[in-house]
């Protein structure tokens, strides 16, 4: 490997800018804390770092375990060609999810705590274990590529010896945590909107992760072709798209069944923001691609296939965000701050950068298995077309308009604006247990101790009113903090002087000026005087 200065290309400049902004955001996050760097709050404690980076990231990396199982357990050799890029994507995906978690955790340096402080009742504990173990599994699954590159025969032999159990372990771990990400939300039945809450969330998360993982392999294959001129045979991708159709159909049936079972089908047809988002997920992101993929002409066409894969991916992303953000209680209080978006963007870009570096330096695409195509200027762009881009923007526009017109968020637990309540009980009509009489610290020339008696003071009032002394809620403290009250203070109308103005009016409290000649009203007479 020769060290070469990377050429400046358009995408590299863009990536560079993203990294610089991301670094500044990172500095804000760790220098100033979560409050300053995010729009999170007690009302909405999980934002896009969880909702997008973790929920979506883990799902998109699901291709890793599916393809590994297909090739090594089911022995479907023809898929071997995509095994390596997919496993690389998965490994990168999981590593970046962990990076994102370091940003999101309040105490990132304790990220290892779940490994030694066990709470088996916690879904997150389980996810933590599975993700940790699975990342190791992915590293093992990826390691042959590394060993091949540096021609390390011995470790290569070892890894091959344990490869099958490792793959099986990987499938189990993936099944568990892909579904457990959904289980995380099973404990908030009152906080997640009825269109998404279900005890079957783990099942839905698992199924949709499979579809997304597969769609990702198609998507990635086309992008790799664009970037590196390496591509997987169309036959394989068409085969994958068939599986996607089956998986998504199963999801559709189960999802609709669950909704009707829970009596929530009508929610789909109310014109609310939730239902618009729901249709975006289920209509545009699930039904549409399934329908399109059923048409052979679209399925067997590169652009058609790419478009459908893109729809599935967008539908998946929307679906995850719906559960984690837009469908949650208090979602109207949250919109990601620029720092949150900057860091998420930087992490995604980092994924692309590492992927392309690894692909260039390691045998990720086994050349003999692939159709290598010369990149002519014209052919470099087989999947992006004006029609495709217009189509995507069109869909997005329609969705935006619908969202803007729809009724605002429903799941908004506010205190019901009840009609005026008729209280039959008046709490003030009861015997109060006042705090014990309170001694003011005596000043230098005090003629005697001043004792404040709550009970006596309230006797003179029509109804107990604490406000004059307890100015604000914690005004009491201000009084107790005064070392000694002087008559100058009272003359200025502070403290006792507030009420004891001595205007002579019968309803007013007596004055406390030095001249008033009624010291014994407040000061206890000293002995012997």
């Amino acid at each position: 490997m020769k060290l070469k200065l990377p050429q400046l290309t358009f995408w590299r400049v863009v990536a560079g800018i993203i990294y610089v902004i991301g670094l500044y955001a990172t500095f804000l996050r760790f220098g100033k804390g979560l409050g300053a760097s995010t729009n999170l709050s007690d009302e909405f404690p999980w934002g896009i770092w969880i909702g997008f980076d973790v929920m979506v990231g883990v799902g998109l990396a699901a291709g890793g375990f599916i393809i590994a199982a297909t090739v090594h357990i089911f022995n479907l050799e023809q898929y071997k060609a995509i095994a390596r890029p997919t496993i690389l994507t998965a490994f990168l995906g999981y590593s970046l999810v962990i990076v994102a978690l370091l940003f999101d955790l309040g105490r990132p340096y304790r990220i290892w705590h779940p490994l030694i402080m066990w709470n088996p009742h916690s879904v997150m504990f389980e996810v933590a274990w599975c993700v940790t173990l699975y990342t190791m599994v992915l590293a093992l699954e990826f390691s042959p590529i590394f060993f091949e590159r540096f021609n390390l025969k011995v470790p290569l032999k070892w890894v091959r010896a344990i490869y099958l159990p490792v793959v099986i372990l990987g499938v189990i771990l993936s099944t568990l945590h892909q579904s457990s990400l959904g289980t995380l939300y099973v404990i908030v039945p009152d906080k997640l909107h009825g269109l998404w809450y279900s005890p079957f969330l783990p099942v839905f998360f698992f199924i949709t992760a499979i579809a997304a993982g597969l769609a990702m392999t198609i998507f990635e294959s086309f992008l790799s072709y664009r970037a590196f001129g390496k591509r997987i045979e169309l036959d394989i991708l068409v085969g994958i798209s068939r599986v996607i159709v089956v998986v998504l159909s199963v999801f559709l049936v189960l999802k609709l069944q669950d909704l009707s079972h829970r009596g929530n089908l009508p929610l789909m047809f109310e014109f609310t923001q939730e239902s618009v988002l729901f249709w975006g997920e289920l209509g545009l992101g699930t039904m549409l691609p399934v329908g399109l993929l059923l048409i052979p002409k679209i399925r067997e066409n590169e652009r058609g296939l790419f478009f459908c894969a893109l729809l599935v991916l967008l539908g998946f992303i929307l679906g995850r965000l719906n559960v984690s953000i837009t469908g949650m209680l208090n979602t109207e209080t949250y919109f990601p701050k620029w720092t949150e978006i900057a860091i998420t963007t930087a992490i995604v870009t980092l994924g692309f950068t590492i992927f392309s570096i690894v692909v260039k330096n390691f045998p990720v695409f086994p050349l003999e298995d692939l159709e290598t195509m010369p990149l002519s200027a014209h052919e470099k762009n087989p999947v992006f077309s004006v029609r495709l881009v217009l189509g995507m923007w069109g869909l997005l526009l329609i969705a935006m308009i619908a969202l803007a017109l729809a009724k605002k968020n429903e799941l908004n637990h506010q205190v019901p604006q009840a009609a005026l309540l008729n209280r039959t009980v008046n709490p003030l009509e009861q015997k109060l247990e006042y705090p014990p009489p309170f001694e003011f610290p005596p000043g230098k020339d005090s003629p005697g101790l001043v004792i404040f008696d709550h009970e006596k003071h309230n006797e003179y009032q029509e109804r107990p009113d604490c406000k004059p002394c307890h100015v604000d809620m914690f005004g009491l403290v201000i009084i107790t903090n005064v070392p000694a009250i002087t008559h100058e203070m009272l003359d200025k109308g502070e403290l006792c002087g507030k009420c004891h103005t001595g205007s002579g009016n019968e309803n007013e409290s007596f004055g406390v000026t030095k001249e008033a000649d009624n010291c014994d009203s407040c000061h206890e007479e000293e002995n012997g005087e």
Binding site: K32, G33, L34, G35, S41, D42, E43, W46, V71, H72, I73, F74, N75, L105, G106, R107, P108, R110, H113, P114, W118, N119, H121, S122, V123, M124, F125, I168, L169, V171, I172, T175, L176, S180, T183, L184, V186, I187, V188, P189, D190, K191, P199, H413, Q414, V415, P416, L421, R423, T424, V425, P427, Q430, E433, P435, C466, H470, M473, L476, V477
Partner: protein, 258 residues
């Protein structure tokens, strides 16, 4: 035997003495005025429709927060209080997200933030056999501390003796699987914004029903996959052997490599 707090909304005059006492004993800053629960206000009295409602952690019998915490930073003690072990917390905020009563709060402005909420004065009072600061200062006896079953009996007594004064419900006996903070009221609880917490089963059961399946899923799944691999592999080997026998070429039965 576990402790609890009973708050009778018909007796609360909104003096905030409990809120103040809580701030004093827990050394919390008083500047924020305690308008709502926050990391520095663990209890406060809110006026909703002429009724003063004291908010604090419910100290659920089967706390959601304790069940979701991945590192056991939250703990339900034998005595009843749900307490927090700061040194374990990783700051995932799942407790804040999951608590059905929206109680735990986070120190968002701190670089090393903690989760904060009422801990029923566990270390400073209850574990020493004393009552919490807040109940000890209430001038009307609206909020009192005691054994949970005794408090429930006391509340039932009040409902019986003054059927016209109260709505016939003790909030917290069944809510969220039962809580250690109970309420009596003269106005229906839902009109006061008290959560309709599910009472048929405690929240942690929702996820435990699923989590407890894991060992069987993992076991069965593992065995099934290994079986599948074995069957498929066997078939392929057989096919290859057959081909070999047919063509008698010795080199076609190579072991597969990943």
């Amino acid at each position: 035997m576990s402790y609890a707090i009973l708050t009778d909304l018909t007796r609360c005059i909104g003096c905030q003495a409990c809120a103040l006492a809580c701030k004093e004993i827990n050394e919390l800053p008083k500047e924020d005025g305690a308008l709502k629960l926050s990391a520095t206000t663990w209890t406060m009295v809110e006026k909703r429709h002429d009724v003063f409602i004291r908010h604090q952690c419910f100290h659920c019998l089967e706390p959601t927060c304790v069940s979701v915490c991945p590192v056991t930073a939250l703990e339900k003690t034998q005595e009843g209080p749900v307490i927090y072990h700061e040194d374990r917390c990783i700051g995932c905020r799942y407790c804040i997200m999951a608590c059905p009563f929206e109680i735990p709060k986070y120190e968002w402005d701190s670089v090393l933030p903690r989760v904060q909420k009422c801990i029923m004065c566990y270390q400073k009072r209850v574990s020493l056999g004393e009552q919490p600061a807040c109940t000890s200062v209430c001038p009307t006896g609206a909020t009192v501390f005691g054994q949970r079953d005794q408090l429930i009996a006391q509340a039932q007594q009040r409902l019986q003796n003054h059927p016209n004064r109260y709505v016939n419900h003790i909030y917290g006996v069944h809510e969220a699987g039962g809580t250690s903070v109970l309420y009596l009221s003269d106005i229906p609880f839902d009109q006061l914004g008290f959560k309709h917490a599910r009472s048929d089963e405690a929240y942690p059961k929702l996820t435990w029903n699923i989590l407890s399946q894991i060992p069987s899923v993992a076991g069965v799944g593992g065995v099934m996959m290994f079986g599948l691999w074995w069957i498929i592999n066997r078939r392929i080997t057989l096919e290859q052997e057959q081909k070999k026998n047919n063509s008698k070429s010795p080199d076609s039965n190579q072991k597969k490599t990943p």
